[in-house]
């Protein structure tokens, strides 16, 4: 970590372009669980186990990771279940504070998650207004956006129903329409498109392209490699809490497909070799701040 390491091929990127900067952020969860009682346990041992039977374990979901995403990029995020993709997205939106490191962005990111239901008891119409207000619009602005959100959601006929009556696909359409109505600078979509039908996918693709043209930046987590190739300009592969690949969607999804094939056939050795290969080829990002100080922690 010395100047010698930094100096040789430092690429200075004007920060006007960087939309999201992940500066060696890591995440370790503290999880409470019920401790399993050993099968043959003496009475005394049972007493000595602290009475609550609740155990605290530490789970390293994400190892320190650095990444810079620029305006106009849409980044596909892939990885097997439990690899840390969603954790990374939660760090990007600020829903979780990283255990170490920091995440910076030019604007407040908007999250589009799987559990699309916002407030299940109230109607779709009310959810639209509520969502807009929660993003900081005034009531007048929310009313002005209302029609275009209804239009984008394509749910005109069911908006008077409470959200709990919606199918998961309908609910995610509604949330997508709400979330993108502000033209967010940074949008994070976490598997929210899986429930959508072909028509909705097409609308989503168009909307994402529009956002990108407006110099927004989109993160897209999906298990559908087709979707990633279709909608993204860049892809990253996260496995076991660490970044393995960062490149074009074609390269990354191709390599990932190979890996998934090995895993599916239980060729653990081949899979491990592939992981090792990616790890050695990966060009890691190291972030230095021009004035030696990281951005101020509070909003200006």
């Amino acid at each position: 970590m010395t100047a010698a390491e930094v100096a040789p091929h430092a690429v200075t990127s004007p920060s006007a372009q960087a939309a999201v900067v992940i500066d060696s952020a890591s995440m370790t969860y503290v999880v409470r669980s019920i401790r399993p009682a050993p099968r043959h346990e003496t009475f005394r041992a049972r007493l000595s186990r602290a009475g609550s039977g609740v155990e605290i374990s530490h789970l390293e979901a994400l190892k320190p990771l650095s990444l810079v995403v620029e305006h106009g990029e849409s980044v596909g995020v892939i990885g097997t279940n439990g690899s840390g993709k969603s954790t990374l997205m939660k760090l990007v939106t600020g829903q979780l504070a990283p255990t170490s490191g920091s995440v910076y962005a030019t604007d407040t990111p908007i999250m589009l998650g799987v559990n699309a239901a916002l407030v299940p008891q109230i109607s779709g119409e009310d959810n639209i207004i509520l969502g807009c207000l929660a993003m900081g619009m005034s009531r007048a602005q929310a009313d002005a956006k209302f029609d275009s959100i209804v239009e984008l959601s394509g749910l005109k006929d069911s908006l008077h129903l409470p959200l709990k009556a919606y199918s998961s696909g309908m609910a995610s359409r509604l949330q997508f329409a709400i979330a993108t109505s502000v033209d967010p600078e940074i949008l994070v979509i976490d598997e929210a498109l899986n429930t959508g039908d072909a028509q909705f996918r097409e609308r989503t693709r168009q909307r994402i392209n529009v956002l990108r043209e407006q110099a927004g930046c989109v993160f897209l987590v999906s298990h559908s490699l087709g979707t990633i190739r279709d909608m993204c300009t860049r892809a990253i592969w996260i496995e076991r809490g660490e970044l393995l690949m960062d490149g074009t969607p074609e390269e990354v999804t191709g390599r990932y497909q190979e890996y998934a094939g090995h895993m599916g056939k239980k060729h653990d050795k081949k899979a491990a070799d592939l992981r090792e290969k990616c790890r050695s080829e990966l060009v890691r990002t190291k972030i230095v701040w021009n004035d030696q100080r990281s951005p101020s922690s509070a909003t200006p």
């Binding site: 930094v6 091929h9 690429v11 990127s13 004007p14 920060s15 006007a16 960087a18 760090l91 990007v92 939106t93 600020g94 829903q95 979780l96 920091s102 910076y104 962005a105 030019t106 407040t108 990111p109 908007i110 999250m111 589009l112 998650g113 559990n115 239901a117 916002l118 407030v119 008891q121 109230i122 109607s123 009310d126 207004i129 509520l130 969502g131 207000l133 929660a134 993003m135 900081g136 005034s138 009531r139 409470p162 979330a179 050695s280 080829e281 990966l282 060009v283 890691r284 990002t285 190291k286 972030i287 230095v288 701040w289 021009n290 951005p295 101020s296 922690s297 509070a298 909003t299 200006p300």
Partner: protein
């Protein structure tokens, strides 16, 4: 343990950045700015509380009628148990109205802090999707509880006028408005503290049920404090109970046509101020953590 820069020729790429224009994601603003943000989200607060009143009772077929029915049934139970069976009401002038005020006013606080303490955990989906000052959720719950109480308070007035003896309706009845305003702020302060605790330790929810129960028994809802006239210590402690102060102010002005003791206002005001300040600071300190799953 993790393989870093030492891996052969490819190594690392260093990116130098200016910090202009970048802000730390999810960062907690200064307290002053936080309060200003809450004010900027006032239409969110109002809309959230309004839209949920309609939605909240839609699962019961009697709907909003329960808002009024619930305290009436409660009052009837207490009247039966304490008034008739145990006779705690003996010697209390106008006991039915005394009890009605106790039950309705206590219920305002108990239901406000019970739902207020769950302001974050029952709104995870909204908290996850959008970033807005989270205290607005606790505020919205309390505004909602206030709006919900209005029909209940009207019922209360009708009931105490309906049961004999007839009360004198005087200008002192107007004291009820500042009283409810102060009680609202009191509830809000307590909700903010409890919401932070419940979000951190879910177990607290169990204690809140228990705590409000004890508080109910200790606040002279269905007995008179006069029975402790010989015990100055108990009397002193009772006078420090903010709920007792609320009930006493309401009863004095509505039932007995007397000006409430200024000490009651003083104690209640002090509690409210302390809870509000402590609650706001405590809640704001954990602002970055409310999105976390437990």
């Amino acid at each position: 343990m993790n393989t870093t820069e030492d891996t052969g020729d490819s190594g690392t790429r260093t990116i130098a950045l200016d910090r202009n224009g970048l802000i730390r994601v999810g960062a907690r603003p200064s307290l002053w700015r936080y309060l200003r943000q809450i004010w900027e989200f006032r239409s969110f607060v109002l809309f959230d509380s309004k839209s949920r009143i309609a939605g909240g009772n839609s699962t019961n077929s009697l709907g909003q009628i329960w808002l009024v029915l619930n305290p009436i049934l409660n009052g009837a139970t207490y009247f039966f148990v304490f008034g008739l069976l145990l006779g705690t009401g003996r010697g209390i002038e106008n006991f039915i109205a005394y009890l009605i005020i106790g039950v309705f006013m206590f219920r305002f606080t108990s239901s406000a802090i019970t739902s207020g303490s769950k302001a974050i955990i029952s709104n995870r989906a909204v908290v996850r999707a959008f970033s807005f000052p989270r205290a607005t959720l606790a505020l919205a719950v309390n505004v909602r509880e206030l709006m919900v109480q209005i029909p209940a308070f009207i019922t209360m007035f009708v009931l105490i006028l309906a049961f004999p003896p007839l009360e004198i309706v005087s200008w002192k009845w107007l004291l009820f408005i500042p009283l409810v305003a102060v009680q609202f702020l009191f509830n809000l302060g307590l909700s903010l503290i409890l919401a932070r605790l419940v979000t951190r330790f879910n177990d607290v929810t169990n204690l809140i049920t228990f705590g409000t129960r004890i508080w109910l028994y200790l606040s002279a809802v269905f007995f008179s404090i006069d029975r402790f006239a010989d015990h100055p210590t108990i009397l002193f402690i009772m006078h420090l109970n903010p709920m007792y102060c609320i009930l006493e102010i309401a009863r004095d002005s509505l039932l007995y046509d007397t000006w409430p003791d200024p000490n009651r206002w003083l104690v209640l005001g002090a509690w409210t101020l302390v809870l509000l300040v402590v609650g706001t600071v405590l809640f704001w300190q954990a602002e970055e953590s409310y999105g976390q799953e437990k």
